[in-house]
């Protein structure tokens, strides 16, 4: 099993979700995060006081799928989230040691 972590631009979430559903992904976790990579922040001025806002809002997706689906998930996210501009995001793939479905107690691939 693989855990895929992806940071994407917030407005791309709906597009990515739809694309993943099409290839058979049945669940995901979504978090609102702040971060930076190549895309830096901006400055804001409040009544003359300048603040450097170093972090940019992003969406983090966490998806656990079987080994057979993992590459396809990565490719799907990359295609749907891409705008060809700085700040499109990153995708990481990790190995998962165990998975459990809480309602039934099924484990590993049966839990996904």
């Amino acid at each position: 099993m693989k855990l895929i972590i992806a940071a994407i631009k917030p407005f791309k979430l709906e597009e990515v979700r739809e694309a993943l559903t099409t290839i058979g992904v049945r669940g995901m976790m979504v978090t609102e995060i702040k971060g930076f990579g190549a895309q830096s922040g901006h400055t804001e001025i409040y009544r003359g006081a300048e603040y450097a806002v170093n972090f940019v809002p992003k969406i983090k997706l966490e998806i656990v799928v079987g080994d057979d689906l993992a590459d396809q998930v990565v490719a799907t996210i990359a295609k749907a989230a891409r705008t060809d501009k700085i700040g499109d995001g990153k995708i990481f793939v990790l190995d998962v040691a165990q998975a459990v479905r809480v309602r039934t107690g099924e484990t590993n691939d049966d839990a996904l």
Binding site: E44, I45, Y46, R47, G48, A49, Y51, V53
Partner: protein, 453 residues
């Protein structure tokens, strides 16, 4: 044109009202249902005036709760929201009690000293529901309790204004102790000096319709001293200290504007043309100020912000406060714009240059706006500029008097505020601990969170 009420006239009305049923169709004139409750023979209490003054009083309370509370609250970080709301609430309650105990007496108690009103009306002794207070029209009176309540809200809001300068780091008990002492030693004497018939500044001929000196310069100067004595917030210039809710700040600003009609037009003490003038000035000065600040900001910063427009809004209201009853509506637009520009300059340039942390710009807006308005009153009251000044009105002469009033206020308030802040700092301490400041006052002082994410 004032309606002249004579004793024969009143007697005639009363006689007419005493006629049997069919006389009911003889309705009195639209605005003036005249009821002669005679404390002094001939004094007239007009129900329209009383209704307006009661409404104005509520409007000023509304300015504090929740107007000012939300205006200030939205400007601080979310971890300190409740501390602002709490300080506003507690100060309001505290000052109201003090007002009834000794504040009204010290301000308007009937004492003949030019500096204070004496202790003749401690705990409002002698005041009953039949007691009347004078208005600006001879022979026209309003119930004294209404006048007391109206002035009470002024004392409360002046004190609540001060806290903005040391927001996010002040010790709650220190704030309350400071306010209790400050309102007694600064606000009451200055209110007496400026507004009471026996007052020093009143008898100089200074014009301060609704409290440019008494409320705004007073609060602004005390706030500046407080910010300087307490020191800047930890992380100023590095940490993100942007307003946590400009939405709530705008709600507060809107409430302040609406409530200010009670503040300004209510200061006329009657519902007549004078109140009408104060009302329209409260519209036009604010409009001019909003436009000026936003235009300036668009040029200087590249974008006009909601924070800027809200700041301009308040600056205009502050500036027109002393002038509302004596300048013209077009002059008010100009006064509002000038005050807005000066306040912008102070807030965006001067404050950063001198490096003091007047967190919510109490001095920058109320102090500077109040000074501009006070001096501007001396100019725009001139009949040539649309004001109500008489043929013998001298701009130069009046400006000198206004400047004297401003000077006395700044001196009296500045010196006493400094002493109070220092003494409190040396005894119970003005500031919370570094850890508490970092965690936020809501949790550490009040054991609460404003928002649960």
């Amino acid at each position: 044109m004032k309606m002249k009420v004579t004793i024969p006239g009143v007697a005639a009305v009363l006689a007419a009202l005493a006629l049997p049923a069919f006389a009911q169709e003889a309705a009195p004139a639209a605005e003036t249902v005249v009821e002669a409750i005679a404390e002094v023979a001939g004094d007239v209490m007009d129900k329209g005036d009383v209704a307006w003054m009661m409404t104005s009083t509520l409007l000023v309370l509304f300015m504090i709760m929740p107007g000012l509370a939300l205006f200030y609250g939205g400007l601080v970080r979310s971890k300190n929201m409740l501390s602002v709301l709490m300080q506003t609430t507690m100060i309001t309650a505290l000052v109201m009690v003090i007002w009834v105990f000794w504040g009204y007496s010290m301000s308007f108690g009937g004492g003949t000293s030019p500096f204070w009103g004496g202790f003749g009306k401690l705990f409002l002794t002698g005041v009953t529901m039949d007691s009347m207070a004078a208005t600006f029209t001879d022979g026209v009176v309003i119930p004294e309790f209404v006048f007391i309540a109206f002035q009470m809200t002024f004392a409360a809001i002046t004190c609540a204004l001060i806290i903005g300068s040391f927001a996010e780091r002040a010790k709650f008990s220190a704030v309350l102790l400071f306010i209790a002492l400050w309102v007694t030693l600064v606000y009451f004497p200055i209110a007496h000096m400026v507004w009471d018939g026996a007052g020093l500044i009143f008898n100089w001929g200074a014009l301060d319709f609704a409290g440019g000196t008494v409320v705004h310069i007073n609060a602004g100067v005390a706030a500046l001293i407080g910010a300087l004595v307490i020191g800047p917030r930890i992380g100023l210039g590095k940490d993100m200290m942007a307003p946590h809710s400009m939405t709530l700040t705008l709600v507060g600003a809107g409430i302040l504007w609406v409530g200010w009609f009670g503040f300004n037009a209510g200061s006329n003490l009657e519902a007549n043309g004078g109140a009408g003038l104060a009302m329209i000035n409260t519209f036009t000065a604010t409009a001019g100020a909003i436009l000026a600040w936003s235009a300036l900001e668009a040029v200087m910063r590249g974008k006009a912000s909601m924070l800027g427009a809200a700041s301009g809004l308040v600056a205009g209201l502050v500036a027109v406060t002393p002038a509302a009853g004596s300048i013209g509506p077009v002059g008010a637009i100009v006064l509002g714009a000038i005050a807005s520009a000066l306040c912008y300059f102070f807030v965006a340039v001067v404050k950063n240059k001198f490096g003091y942390d007047d967190s919510l710009d109490v001095f920058g807006i109320h102090g500077i706006g109040g000074i501009t308005g006070a001096i501007g009153t001396g100019i725009f009251t001139a009949p040539s500029l649309g004001g109500t000044g008489g043929d013998d009105f001298s701009i130069a002469g009046q400006v000198v008097i206004q400047a004297q009033a401003v000077g006395v206020t700044i001196l009296w308030c500045g010196v006493i505020s400094f002493i109070l802040f220092k003494v409190i700092d040396m005894t119970i301490g003005l500031r919370v601990s570094t850890d508490d400041e970092r965690q936020g006052l809501d949790l550490t002082t009040h054991g609460e969170s404003a928002y649960h994410a």
